[in-house]
């Protein structure tokens, strides 16, 4: 288990380094980052000054190592649009996004896992069909459109819930539903598929042959084994959610990291964009690493090797 963890961690670190390099390179997609940074109203002198100030005249690799070094020390650069250090800017926004994502993924699990189990126990029945329709629709539904439809129905027509802002818990109901429904289909399908596979396993027959009650067979012997891949998936979904928060936070005007990303992209605030890409990637890598560990811990064949 220790060897496994160290190996996994090393890999995660390597992935993070490569992603950071790619996200650094993003700056150079623009023909001249100095011009991009200076904005349209800048004079020739401004651009030269910016180029020297940022050290864009140095070799790319040197710049990268310099940037990464500052990043590791927690210096993410300075946002000229927001007039704040990027680290401060992001830190203030990340909490909301995390909270939203966590609640949404938990909601998705709470709905999708029982639904998947029910569908697996009674394949090809009404329950199974309903679960299938819900998941197929969820996979095809553009989440930004779903969000707008919810606003029209619940905020405009019924006037039950606020359409935008983040002032009270009511403000989070609609965004949470949107993200949860986005994450649900995959979790449900994996649970259903896993349960069907596990339920036909020999050890389930053994459990029945021992005279265990169906409840115990289902929840102790079957679900425990079927849930292992679902854990990784939920982690992955949480990672996707960070990226998906851009859409949802923009629509519902929640000032989290997603909306910050959208604003900084629109304002050409490259330092913030780079920091966010790298940060999102690192969070994803970290969550995956933790999910791997959790997975290994859940599966004794990996844990007790």
């Amino acid at each position: 288990m220790l060897y496994y963890s160290v190996k996994r961690f090393g890999l995660a670190l390597l992935v993070a380094v490569v992603v950071s390099f790619l996200s650094f390179q993003l700056l150079f997609l623009a023909s001249d980052p100095a011009i991009a940074l200076a904005g349209e109203a800048a004079t020739e002198e401004d651009i030269i000054a910016i180029r020297e100030f940022y050290g864009f005249d140095r070799p790319v690799l040197v710049q990268y190592i310099d940037w990464l070094g500052r990043f590791i020390r927690g210096d993410f650069g300075y946002s000229y649009y927001f007039n704040l250090p990027v680290s401060e800017l992001i830190l203030g926004r990340l909490g909301v996004t995390f909270q939203l994502g966590l609640v949404a993924v938990l909601l998705a699990i709470v709905v999708a896992v029982p639904l998947g189990v029910a569908a697996a126990i009674r394949p090809n029945t009404i329950i199974d069909r309903t679960a299938l329709v819900i998941s197929v629709l969820g996979q095809a539904m553009p989440s930004f459109w779903f969000a707008l439809v919810l606003i029209v129905v619940f905020s405009v027509n019924l006037r039950w819930l606020p359409a935008s802002g983040a002032d009270s818990w009511q403000h989070f109901i609609l965004p949470t539903i949107v993200i949860a429904y986005f994450a649900m289909p995959a979790i449900m399908r994996l649970t259903r598929g896993g349960m069907i596979e596990v339920l036909s396993a020999d050890y389930i027959r053994t459990a029945k042959a021992k005279g265990l009650r169906p409840f115990k067979v289902l929840f102790k012997h079957a679900l425990r084994n079927a849930i292992i891949p679902v854990v990784s998936l939920a982690a992955v979904q949480f990672g996707f959610m960070l990226s998906g928060s851009i859409v949802v936070e923009t629509i519902f005007a929640i000032d989290g990291a997603g909306q910050l990303a959208w604003e900084s992209i629109n304002r050409n605030d490259l330092a913030t964009v780079q920091a966010l890409i790298l940060l999102f990637a690192m969070i994803y890598v970290m969550i995956n690493f933790l999910a791997d560990l959790l997975n290994a811990w859940l599966d004794p064949r990996v844990r007790v090797a």
Binding site: A16, P142, L148, L242, S243, I246, A261, N268, A281
Partner: protein, 297 residues
Amino acid sequence: MAAVDHNAPVEAAPSPHRAMLRRALAHGGVTIGAGLLLIIIVMAVIGPFLIAHGPYDQDLTARLVPPIWMEGGSWEHPFGTDQLGRDYLARLLYGARISLMIGFGTVFIAGTIGTVLGVAAGYFGGRVDMVVTFLISVRLSTPLVLVALAVVSIVGGSLQVVVLVLGLLLWDRFAVVMRASTMQLRAIEYVTAARAIGCSTPRILTREIMPNVMNNLIVVTTLEMAHAILLEAVLSFLGLGVKPPTPSWGLMIAEGREVLLFEPWLITIPGLALLTLVLSINLVGDGIRDVTSPEDR
């Protein structure tokens, strides 16, 4: 006598391809999905020729005309008009072309990259596999929407840019699936046999591997096409996909959002169109998976 024995069941049962086709037709999801998809493709191709209005023709005297089923609608504009008085049906039909082009273009690029990487990893194993697996991890760690938005905003949005960006980003699932299926095949006897009798690597890859991973490739292709269409809609909705006045469905929803309170049908129509297209592609993909490997759904 042995020959007679083997023939009997073959005559009774249809050929595997026929059987698969029959199962596909009997499969509700495939039939509905393929039917819907066909209708959308046909409408996208010939629809614009059948209506009087162009997607860019503005008529400021006829702004926000409601669709035919609402009060005040007319057959002149069956789906109504938008804020600039453009015929919504014409924009919708052109939008279908955009979505389909995005879908096909993206899976062409992503499919090529992903298949080459995946098959190479699965077939050669060892170091190649390690490198490809690492690339997949890197790709999965990059936040998709954020990177796509950032790149489009730096490079500038257009249909070509969006296809290229999505194509370069969405290859991961192709690589994962192709890697796994190639690995499985490699272990099967006939591939080992082909290697043993000295077939060249390109020959084994094209003759033995590719035909047998085709089913899986088709399934991923459909699912990723749907994914690409949804992502383009997201990018355009956020104003960083294709540029106005191009009639992308995502852009239409974004424009309709400004009058959300008063004219909700402006977002309902393109939203439902998007939902239907993605749904039909997914149904076909899921259906093919069901039909080719009936065990899992």
